[in-house]
Symmetry: C2
DNA sequence: CACGATTCGATCGTGTACGATCAATTCGTG
DNA sequence: CACGAATTGATCGTACACGATCGAATCGTG
């Protein structure tokens, strides 16, 4: 990752951009690798973990709502939610007032899993070995990029 | 993304971490979405684009080397490289001195594609609508997280 | 030379991602 | 009431991502 340095990047925006897309993709994979190890005992993959996080905040939650928060579409969510259902962590039920909506609700097992999941975040922070300050900085920049990307993709 | 704010995060490290893993995953997907549109005319997916970037820097390059730079293993690279080969952008050839190594080399078409690819980076920066300064900041933080993650994953 | 350890790449199975498309339902308007 | 538009979730096909494993080739040592 050091074949192009920041000085080059300042002189040539194209190189900086390239490094950012490299860095983002590699960072995502690297972080996922850490999560994989930690989540395996819980029987969850990382996207499944994100869905559970969303449900631990609001339990009966529409598929569309989950997809909106996680920026996932139904083509990805449908099979994922089926796996969570067959694991006994959630149930799917059509809502009475509008049969088009499907609500996802935690089962008792799904709600109980939250206790074990509480150990994940500090383990990740520990494994990364970076200061919380750095994570805050990362969060701030990612959020800005995120909003810009959503704006760009909303068309 | 605003159901938990920074103030909460400062009081509770777990929430901050959660937001970061949310933000990283969403940002990665959002940025990929932008690339998808731009790369489609070139007939490249984003991982294929990363491999081509690596090859445009060093042309005859071992599979292992590409995998090291992009943090991808052969299970991902092998089919990907086959697609690039069937697209006529690269050729695979076993190296004489060690038959276990496979060198990937650009074809004339592959090398020529670089010209068209030069339009991609500024288009991404433009689509994101963020300052180069922000991208630099992002790059710096990602690099630090990256190194930490690699260290953590190196066991 | 022979043999075990290592390296390299390919392959298999599972699980996301996402564009495109489809069926069912609801809503707005005439 | 009826009909077209919009919404919602499901399904299909393609393409990563990665753990596990395999087969071939090389290397180190005796």
């Amino acid at each position: 990752m050091s074949d192009v340095n920041i000085a080059d990047a300042e002189a040539n925006p194209l190189l900086l951009e390239r490094q950012v897309c490299f860095a983002l993709a590699v960072a995502n994979r690297s972080v996922l690798k850490i999560y994989r190890r930690l989540l395996e005992p819980l029987g969850l993959t990382h996207p499944q973990y994100l869905v559970m996080l969303a449900l631990w905040e609001v339990s009966p939650r529409a598929v569309k709502d989950i997809g909106h928060v996680l920026q996932l579409d139904s083509a990805t969510l449908s099979p994922l939610l089926k796996r969570l259902e067959s694991s006994g962590l959630v149930v799917r039920q059509r809502r009475g007032d509008d049969e088009r909506n499907v609500d996802i609700a935690l089962t008792d097992d799904g709600a109980a899993l939250r206790e074990r999941a509480l150990t994940i975040p500090p383990a990740v922070v520990d494994a990364l070995g970076v200061d919380l300050e750095v994570l805050q900085e990362l969060h701030g920049v990612l959020t800005r990029v995120n909003e810009a990307a959503v704006r760009a993709g909303a068309t």
